[in-house]
Amino acid sequence: MSAVITPGIATTPMRGEPAYAPAATLEPLWVRIVLVGIAFAFLTLFLFVPLVAVFYEGLKKGWDVYVDSIIEPDAWSAIKLTLMTAAIAVPLNLVFGVAAAWSIAKFEFRGKNILLTLIDLPFSVSPVISGLIYVLLFGLQGYFGPWLREHDIKILFAVPGIVLATVFVTFPFVARELIPLMQSQGSEEEEAALVLGASGWKTFWHVTLPNIKWGLLYGVILCNARAMGEFGAVSVVSGHIRGETNTIPLQVEILYNEFNVVGAFAVASLLAFLALATLAIKSFIEWRLHKQLTAHTALAAADQE
């Protein structure tokens, strides 16, 4: 780990800082090496090694066993269920996120801060409790349980319960990304469009949406990653019926507990891939957003002159 540590400010030079660091505000070389070394050691131990281990253990018995573990029927049905769950939960929370951001960012009303806190609630609830609430509502002893049984509707230990629990845990993602973004953009552009005679929907499609598309994508990506990877909440409501109500993370658990370590890690590696892809897209969007933001401030500065 003999990293070459050159003095300099790491932040992007766009902030208007000098590209050099004066010696007076720079630590001695050995301090820098020790600090970078500690950071490397910590991240290696807690991030890199676990990540590498997932792929290593999955591929330990070769490529064929790896592929077989993934296309095995139970694993395959888990993959399909996971994709379906995300395909329902993400669009629902996307529509909610846009509606919430529109009302909160574009209008003033009383109780806005309370609303913001309530939107954040699912983030602070333990996943286990997120599952428990649906057991209390739809379980046989639950509030709607007897009625559901009379009408032969299955929610708990069936697909609808899994979808509901996933919607709950991924509820704030899109809204959380869009609200600050739309607040910072203000509403002058929308107002201009309306004055020029555009309808409300037209304004939204042609003015607002292009402005928030990267933020929207950011929220969707994070929402999707969580929707596909959720374990605790789904585990409580799923019932663990093989080939029917197992999502990928639950399938990983079952295989692992059956000492099928290679199979567990092979299936888990799909989720690790998803995580890496999510991080890559996220970094790309951050870069785009940063560019958009600097272009925006440059434009504003030019306007003032």
């Binding site: 540590i5 300099g8 790491a10 932040t11 660091a21 004066p22 007076a24 505000t25 600090l35 500690i38 950071a39 910590f42 131990l45 807690f46 991030l47 890199f48 090694v49 676990p50 281990a53 997932v54 529509v95 909610f96 509606a99 529109w102 009302s103 209008f107 609303l115 309530l118 939107i119 954040d120 609630l121 602070s124 609830v125 333990s126 996943p127 409790i129 428990l132 649906y134 379980g139 002893q141 639950g142 709950f168 509820f171 509403s187 309306l194 409300g200 990877g229 605790g232 585990s235 409580v236 990928i248 993370p249 990983v252 658990e253 888990a268 690790a272 890496l276 999510t278 991080l279 970094s283």
Partner: protein, 287 residues
């Protein structure tokens, strides 16, 4: 004399230029109520069916008390570890240049993106007796997997991004001129750190600590694999809730859930106040 009563709300309501206020707010409130508020209130409604004594005995039984101690103790330690190492990582990422920095910066968020079950089995495999890390700890007499120490490792992993991501922007915005001024007035680098840099990042460190702690107390997926789940020893509270559910003791599970929820809400409130403090600090400095 009669004071003319102001024509009510209609006049006071601000004139809204943009359309869709009622529609968007209406939908937001409807969806929020349906998905979050009604289901969450079920937890509290359910506990109201218990007598006070039954509630107290359910949430203070020796086994559940042991689980609180482990959950909150390990979460506290994990959050502290993250403050120390996450603080160093944030510092290094903002202030120094070294190869691979971009990738490391992106990978810091891995614990957010990696499903907890995957993290759980990976850490367990690494820290078990024959694992890549466990085999070197075994001769030293340190057992991590299937002990409370394993809980600490898992909680440190999932809390890792919080401190880094709250401290990083504050460090980026911190004005180096202040440090230069301190240096030119004769302060040593250590003094500058203690008197100038540390006070600037302190609110962010505290916020990151609270976020990591809050996340750790509710964590389930990454912990169940590595903990060993022995009652009274390595059983965390969320797992105990699941155990109660599996025994069809719904009221018992709900009572413990209420305790956890109240703790989370208190933490959420604390975090909101801390974040307001960080923002105020940032604005005050810019003025």
């Amino acid at each position: 004399m009669t004071v003319p009563i102001a024509l009510p709300v209609v006049n006071k309501a601000p004139f809204r230029v943009l359309p869709g206020f009622r529609l968007s707010l209406g939908f937001t409130l409807f969806y929020l109520t349906l998905i979050v508020l009604i289901p969450l209130s079920a937890v509290f409604l359910k506990t109201f069916t218990m007598t006070w004594d039954a509630f107290v005995s359910a949430v203070t039984s020796p086994r559940v008390m042991a689980s609180y101690r482990l959950t909150f103790g390990a979460s506290l330690l994990a959050a502290l570890l993250n403050v120390i190492f996450g603080g160093i990582v944030a510092w290094v990422l903002v202030r120094y240049k070294f190869p691979g920095k971009r990738i490391i910066d992106a990978l810091v968020d891995l614990p957010f993106a990696l499903p907890t079950a995957v993290a759980g089995i990976a850490l367990t495999t690494l820290y078990s007796q024959n694992g890549w890390i466990g085999r070197y700890l075994e001769p030293l007499g340190i057992k991590v997997a299937f002990t409370p120490l394993g809980v600490l490792v898992a909680l440190t992993f999932i809390g890792l991004p919080f401190v880094v991501r709250t401290v990083q922007p504050v460090l980026e915005d911190a004005e180096r001129e202040l440090e230069e001024a301190a240096a030119s007035l004769g302060a040593s680098r250590l003094q500058t750190f203690a008197r100038v840099i540390f006070p600037t990042v302190f609110p962010a460190l505290l916020t990151g600590f609270a976020l990591a702690f809050a996340r750790a107390t509710g964590e389930y997926g990454s912990v169940v694999f590595i903990a060993g789940n022995m009652p009274m020893v390595s059983e965390i509270t969320p797992l105990f809730i699941i155990t109660k559910l599996e025994q069809y003791d719904y009221t018992g599970a709900t009572a413990i859930a209420v305790v956890m929820l109240i703790v989370s809400f208190a933490l959420l409130l604390t975090i909101n106040l801390l974040q307001a403090w960080v923002r105020k600090r940032g604005q005050a400095e810019k003025v």
